[in-house]
């Protein structure tokens, strides 16, 4: 129980809670105290001493950011002495910070500014001091604060420019330490907010600065290039290198299109209508002010010059520009010939709920087929057991619940790269003492935080989980109350576990009994415990077994239906959750109603006014087989997808060429678009409205950041509607996505209370808006004025605030149902041509391996010898000795590495761990218009080895 405390600040009586600091209490009451090193959400540091106050009967002038409130305290924040002290400190700061922006005769410190943001003066101050030479000009917290405290225009102190070179060699970052004021926000953000410690203070006294924690480059210091340090920097010392000099004329908040975390980003737009910068929203519930390398540095595709601008139609074998009328009528005419199951539609993984709803409606209503899916739905097995056992096919808890979990189990997920911001609360939980069990054959970044890292033989994850369940049952570690009251079918599970003899499991998985027991006990004894799974390392035949076991594991330990626990399926696609919700899958109607359910189909027929096809259609995993077999003859594909090019689906370009008619909606002329008969140009996420549903069931809005300018590209929802209308489809007259969302809400009970208008409105403020003109941290400047909360479904009425934790009130079918486990068999994952299985890993930092930073083409690159770990007996068979150079050859790639023989490796597997920094340099120099959507994942790959001669 936090006790209430009453104190007076500048004569105003404030009621707050014990444990707050004076600064926090003042901010909450709307009183501003100047500060430079404090940052909302981070622990106080007490370095800048700008927030000094006087406390009646107290000694001296304590910093309000570090002084806790006490009952009856009388605080003055703005006495003449304090004002002088603050002026003195800012004078000291600007004595070594270029400050032409303050002293220029065209800048009137007391009000009117004679200079526009784009004006360039050339003479008044030296080149390094000009306001235009600062990338943070016009959004500098130091400048705002200095003006606020009223520091004089001239300082009697000698100005000392540090004259350090501006560092531009690292990917994405420009570091100008001449501008650094050593407030330490970046160092603390890296450590406290992200759990990384890639940057640190360097030197001390007058030359103290910040810098990489190891070596000379962020590439070698373990940076994850999340940009958190840039976001918190009050000055221009750390900035994004792209568009660093550009000034924003507009900021719009929207949802990041890169992964299902759904970070809320504030996009800066310049005069010429380019998106120049992405700043994560501090007040958003999905990301809490964090973003990752993809969202921060991977949105430039919006501005690409290579975007499609008009529809293209294949004439005489080549794609030529055409008008919308021509293209649409051609599409309508052609597709009319393929109604029924000869047609298939594939939606985009970045398609909004509205677009993917429309696409399935188009397929089912106009084309009369259930052949509809979204392109990232390559692991549908991840979800199905959740629905079967619990009720909803979705994550049970919110992402940031993980921060207060006591135990987290991850299995087959490279979270820190593929769902980066979801890894942040995991790392923070570990720092707070939570146990982290990582089950992964690959060395991914989270293994570095793991309290227990288990590397089962590839393909045996499900057996391992069965073994853990067996230990929990044998050692009576279940949550008995939970089992008694809320679960059924436990006996069937227990009965099925008799086959999971721990000795046998040890043999199969290669994990020692001790480790299996340790993992089981750790998970069962540290409640609340959460499970994150992506099944990256689990072969298709094992996925259902694996998820069954995970659901059982969560249930038997009572970790469902309560905060900080639960199951998190980490799916690859940005809007996988929403696409499932709206029925853009071959076997479900909107709202998870089975396509074979006659009554559900009848209800939809009522709404849509046509007869619906029955029977499961073909989905993304089998559609290209159907194409090859000649069953599907025409396709509509919306958007590009990593699964089109990463080999998961085979060579789809070649297969697609055998289609009689292919329509592609895309922003770029991608591989698939190049073989299409008609290509329809679609806009990016930044130019359209709609909603995404993130992995925690949070429905979040896309706002229109840019207008569609001078091009013929259109939103996908508009294109689908136009095609449908051209084919005389009924019920496609929408003028905006909000209208489509209304239809969705009317059909899906758990979306019933969600409207676009509700999503745009803001919830309470984390950092209250102060009076205008008070300095704000640049991440909040200009403040969007509230919390981008989104709504987590189920949300059944317009008053419903949504539900963050599923099943807290009970399961939809009364009780959760345990799923008995099958003892499967580990499948062979190699082939005769590629007899070894390659386990790739990637981490931020490997101090034990030598490396150096070389500058090539003005950019830093990592140079080091990669190490390939393999079993000595395998090596002996191949005649490979320690330190020999070996080539690892897969069907698509070749990697050279030095052999490192170790008994730890399983026979038949080889592994290598690469550096994240390498990936960053490759991504930055990539020619791909949207490289961040194609970040190489870490699949287990069959390979063969070839010894290289020295």
């Amino acid at each position: 129980m936090v006790s209430a405390i009453t104190l007076a600040i500048d004569g105003q009586e404030i009621v707050t809670q014990a444990g707050k600091t004076i600064l926090q209490a003042a901010m909450e009451a709307g009183l501003y105290i100047p500060y430079l090193c404090y940052y909302p959400g981070m622990k106080p540091f007490g370095a800048c001493r700008m927030c000094v106050v006087e406390v009646e009967n107290g000694r001296g002038t304590p910093a309000s950011c570090t002084t806790p409130v006490a009952d009856g305290m009388v605080v003055s924040t703005n006495t003449p002495q304090l004002q002088d002290l603050r002026k003195g400190i800012t004078e000291l700061v600007i004595s070594e910070h270029p400050h032409g922006c303050l002293t220029c005769h065209r800048t009137d410190i007391h009000g009117a500014n004679l200079c526009g943001p784009e004006d360039i003066c050339l003479r008044h101050v030296s080149v390094t001091d000009r306001c235009v030479a600062c990338p943070k000009n016009e959004r500098c917290e130091l400048k705002d604060t200095t003006i606020f405290v009223g520091t004089g225009l001239t300082t009697p102190l000698t100005y000392k420019y540090r004259n350090l070179p501006v560092l531009t060699q690292d990917p994405f970052y420009d570091l100008d330490y001449n501008l650094c004021i050593v407030c330490g926000r970046c160092v603390r953000a890296c450590e406290e907010l992200r759990g990384d410690s890639a940057i640190t203070f360097t030197d001390r006294s007058g030359i103290s600065l910040v810098g990489p924690a190891h070596g000379t480059s962020l590439l070698e210091s373990g940076s994850e290039f999340c940009g958190s340090c840039i976001d918190v920097c009050p000055v221009g010392a750390l900035v994004e290198s792209d568009y660093k000099w550009e000034k924003a004329v507009e900021n719009v908040s929207t949802t990041c299109p890169h992964c299902p975390v759904g970070c809320q980003l504030k996009l800066d737009v310049n005069q010429r209508g380019k998106v120049i910068r992405a700043i994560p929203e501090l007040e958003a519930d999905a990301n809490h002010g964090q973003a990752c390398f993809k969202g921060k540095f991977g949105l430039d595709f919006i501005n690409s010059r290579n975007r499609l601008t008009t529809p293209l139609v294949r004439r005489n074998g080549s794609l030529e520009e055409a008008s919308w009328e021509e293209a649409l009528s051609l599409v309508a005419e052609k597709l009319s010939g393929y109604r029924g199951d000869q047609f298939a539609a594939i939606g985009s993984y970045r398609g909004t709920n509205e677009e993917n709803y429309l696409l399935q409606k188009f397929a089912r209503v106009v084309m009369g087929t259930n052949n509809v899916d979204h392109s990232s739905n390559i692991k549908p097995e991840m979800l199905e057991p959740l629905g079967e056992a619990l009720g909803y096919q979705a994550a049970t808890n919110p992402i940031w619940d993980l921060e207060d979990a006591k135990c987290i189990l991850t299995i087959g997920t490279n979270t820190s790269e593929e769902h980066n911001v979801a890894a942040v609360p995991v790392k923070r939980a570990v720092k707070k003492g939570a146990k982290l069990i990582v089950i992964d054959s690959r060395e991914v970044e989270l293994t570095r935080y793991a309290t227990t890292w288990i590397r089962p033989k590839p393909g045996t994850d499900a057996m391992l989980l069965g073994g853990m369940l067996r230990v929990i049952v044998d050692e009576v570690l279940e949550d008995e109350d939970f089992l008694k009251d809320r679960c059924e079918n436990l006996d069937a599970l227990k009965h099925s576990l008799w086959r999971f003899d721990i000795n046998k499991i040890e043999d199969i998985t290669g994990v020692s009994q001790d480790d299996i027991r340790l993992a089981a006990r750790t998970f069962a004894e540290n409640s609340p415990a959460a499970i994150l799974y992506a099944l990256d390392t689990v072969p298709q035949s094992q996925r259902v077994d694996c998820v069954n076991a995970l659901v059982d594991l969560a249930l038997i330990t009572g970790n469902v239906g309560k905060p900080n626990a639960g199951l998190y399926p980490l799916r690859p696609g940005t809007n996988d959750q929403g696409s499932w919700d709206v029925g853009c899958v071959p076997n479900l109607l909107p709202g998870y109603q089975a396509i074979d359910d006659v009554s559900a189909r009848a209800a939809m027929q009522q709404v849509w006014g046509v007869d619906l096809p029955s029977g499961r259609g073909v989905g993304i995993n089998d559609v290209f087989q159907s194409v090859s077999a000649g069953n599907v003859k025409a396709m509509l594909v919306v958007g590009d997808s990593p699964s089109f090019s990463n080999g998961d689906l085979g060579d789809i370009i070649e297969t697609a060429q055998s289609l009689e008619f292919l329509v592609v909606q895309d922003t770029f002329l991608t591989g698939l678009a190049q073989v299409a008969d008609v290509v329809l140009p679609s806009v990016t996420f930044a130019e359209k409205e709609g909603t995404f549903t993130n992995l925690e069931r949070r429905v979040q809005p896309l706002r229109k950041v840019l207008d569609i300018q001078r091009t013929e590209s259109r939103p996908d929802w508009w294109i689908i509607c136009e095609i449908a209308k051209a084919m005389n489809g009924q019920g496609f007259d929408y003028h905006c996505p909000a209208q489509i969302l209304d239809e969705i809400s009317s059909l899906i009970p758990f979306y019933a209370g969600i409207t676009y208008q509700r999503l745009l409105s803001k919830k309470g403020l984390l950092v209250p808006l102060l009076m205008p003109n008070f300095p704000l941290p640049s991440q909040l400047h200009p403040s969007t004025g509230g919390q981008n909360a989104g709504i987590q479904w189920p949300c059944t009425t317009p008053e419903d605030e949504g539900n963050s934790v599923l099943y807290a009130e009970g399961f939809p079918s009364g009780k959760a149902r345990f799923i008995p486990l099958e003892m499967g068999e580990a499948p062979t994952m190699t082939t005769a041509d590629f007899p070894f299985l390659f386990l790739p890993g990637r981490v931020l930092h490997q101090s034990q391996q030598e490396m150096e930073i070389v500058v090539a083409g003005q950019k830093n690159h990592i140079q080091r010898d990669e190490l390939l770990k393999l079993h000595p007996l395998d090596a002996a068979d191949m005649g490979i000795n320690e330190e020999d150079w070996v080539e690892v050859i897969s069907h698509s790639e070749r990697i050279r590495a030095k052999a490192r023989l170790t008994e730890e490796a399983f026979r038949g597997t080889v592994s290598a761990t690469f550096l994240f920094g390498d990936l960053m340099t490759r991504l930055e120099s990539s020619e791909d218009p949207d490289p961040m959507s194609r970040v190489p994942r870490l699949p287990l790959t069959p390979v063969r080895l070839a010894k290289l001669e020295a």
């Binding site: 106080p44 950011c65 570090t66 003195g88 000291l92 420019y161 350090l164 006294s205």
Partner: protein
């Protein structure tokens, strides 16, 4: 279970064998000053000479008696004779000395400094009669220079660990704190906070893990008494720390020593090992229910690491930067565990206070400052060294009587007391008493006990500049007023010393200084203005001469201005500027 009685008797027996046996006992002072003067070469020469002549003798490397001016100090105890101290011994003198006193019986009055113990020798003054010794009251330094610091039995033979035995067998923890509060001991690290009160804070903090941190960072130029104690008598610290642990129900102790100086580190580590071996550290100390563990932690090269919260950061392996308080160490200390930080000197008093009672200690010194002051005197004086004098003695008595005043007929110009942050005390204030309150009223601090004496050839501007250069270089770089204030102060002082001052510089320094004092996070910045302020107050003339007449009255500033390279800011290193548009 070791019985303390037995241990004590065994120690007495061993010590008797040395002191009253039939072999001569030769002790060589090997603390840092002795080492610098060649003590180990002297020991080597001694052993060689004794071997050559076939003389059986015990040779011990002892710590420091405090008579730095007389190092290398060799003291020879021949059976039945008083101890004779020989001063400034070199390896070359060894054969002659052995020849005349050990082979023959000529005590070599010409080489001897003093005799000590029963009986006297003609022509050799008794140590007690030397001016540097006669005024001393040695409590914390009681064993320094007399026993081998690497031999725990010698410490026990001198009454060591009896206080610990008394405490764990006869006293409650609260009694120990009571005794400390009665003694009136105030912390000797500089802040002079009452030790007993400080302990009572930790005693109230929840356990079971609590830390007693012993601070031997000691970065003040001219102060070496903490290291001196660790080098000469580490067990007095260890016993004090264990007693502090007992009084506060603490579980662990960490001795925090500045690295780079092998003597104190090695000897403290060895002493801790020995205490473990004899059951004086570890679980169930001396058979009681009390357990206490100790270890040594080393700092990096940082002055601010001596600040209590920075010290905790440093122990945790982080950069030595002070934390904001509250929370105070007693609630949130090292690793977030309740902690209590004591100076080495403070802890070295504890065993004597417990043995003899707080009242005895309170009987020494002045009303506000009980006990003794351990001073390190250096600079231009006749007899530099480390002394322990009762509080209340005047500075003039210390300088003129105890350490022999300024040689060569020169006059004292000022004293630099309590480390660089303490500033300067002009000669006309030398009649003030050694007392925390009195000193602070005079604008000086006793601090860690270092006193540097400057004669009338010293320039106040130059001295101030050097002090501020030190403070600037040692600023940790965390809080803005200190990091930037010090940098600007040193810049202005360099200007003054180069006779290039500007008219507003005096005012500027004052503003910066006041902002530093009001705004800084820790004592380093808060006191950073002190050296300049005290010099301005006492020697305005020196500053005026530099600033207005553009001359240095003493001529010291005519020499090229020297500031260590790293005190300069980076802007001086010319590097090409690259801007990317």
């Amino acid at each position: 279970m070791p019985d303390f009685e037995e241990l004590s008797q065994e120690s007495q027996r061993r010590f008797q064998e040395l002191e009253a046996g039939d072999k001569p006992w030769i002790r060589v002072g090997t603390a840092v000053c002795g080492e610098a003067a060649g003590a180990f070469q002297v020991i080597e020469a001694l052993n060689a000479e004794l071997d050559k002549r076939g003389i059986a003798a015990n040779v011990s490397a002892v710590g420091c008696l405090g008579l730095c001016y007389a190092e290398t100090l060799v003291d020879i105890l021949k059976p039945g004779k008083p101890r004779i101290f020989y001063k400034n011994v070199t390896p070359e003198m060894v054969p002659g000395l052995v020849e005349s006193y050990l082979v023959g019986d000529d005590p070599r009055q010409d080489l001897a400094l003093a005799s000590f113990g029963d009986g006297s020798l003609e022509g050799i003054p008794r140590l007690e009669d030397l001016p540097m010794w006669s005024r001393q009251v040695r409590i914390a330094l009681r064993n320094c220079g007399h026993i081998d610091p690497l031999d725990i039995y010698q410490y026990i033979a001198q009454g060591g660990y009896a206080a610990l035995n008394k405490a764990v067998t006869q006293m409650e923890p609260a009694d120990v704190i009571k005794e400390m509060q009665d003694s009136g001991l105030r912390g000797r690290g500089g802040a002079a906070f009452p030790t007993g009160t400080k302990w009572s804070f930790l005693a109230r903090s929840p356990g079971p893990l609590k830390y007693i941190l012993c601070n031997c960072e000691e970065g003040d130029p001219g102060a070496y008494n903490d290291k001196g104690i660790l080098e000469s008598d580490p067990h007095s610290l260890i016993e004090g720390a264990i007693l502090a642990g007992y009084a506060t129900s603490a579980s662990n102790g960490v001795v925090f020593i500045r690295h780079g100086h092998e003597g104190p580190i090695h000897r403290t580590m060895r002493a801790i090992e020995q205490a473990y071996e004899l059951g004086l550290l570890g679980d169930n100390i001396l058979g009681s229910a009390f357990s206490f563990h100790m270890e040594v932690s080393l700092t990096g090269d940082s002055y601010v690491a001596g600040e209590e919260t920075a010290l905790m950061e440093s122990i945790e392996g982080k950069r030595a930067m002070p934390r904001a308080r509250p929370p105070f160490p007693a609630a949130y200390g090292v690793w977030g565990i309740p902690s209590n930080i004591n100076n080495i000197k403070s802890l070295s008093y504890v065993s004597e206070i417990i043995s003899r009672g707080g009242e005895w200690f309170a009987g020494i010194g002045t009303e506000g400052s009980k006990g003794t002051a351990i001073l390190c005197l250096s600079g231009n004086i006749a007899l530099p060294g480390m002394i322990e004098v009762p509080m209340g003695i005047t500075l003039r008595e210390v300088i003129e009587d105890v350490v022999g005043g300024v040689p060569g007929g020169r006059k004292v110009k000022f004293l630099q007391t309590g480390g660089p942050l303490g500033g300067v005390l002009p000669a006309d204030q030398m009649d003030i008493e050694l007392d925390f309150g009195v000193m602070s009223q005079a604008g000086a601090i006793l601090g860690s006990g270092g006193i540097i004496v400057a004669d009338d050839r010293a320039c106040a501007v130059n001295m101030t500049r050097l002090l501020v250069a030190f403070c600037q270089y040692e600023s940790c770089g965390k809080c803005f007023p200190c990091r930037l204030g010090m940098t600007n102060l040193i810049e202005i002082l360099e200007r003054i010393a180069r006779f290039e001052s500007r008219p507003q510089d005096m005012e500027l320094m004052r503003t910066i200084g006041q902002n530093m004092a009001a705004g800084s996070l820790c004592g380093h910045g808060q006191l950073g203005w002190n050296p300049v302020q005290s010099a301005l107050r006492s020697f305005p003339g020196d500053f005026a001469a530099h600033m207005e007449e553009k001359r240095c009255p003493t001529g010291q500033c005519l020499a090229p201005v020297f500031t260590p390279q790293r005190t300069r800011s980076r802007w001086t290193s010319a590097q090409p500027l690259e801007l990317r548009f």
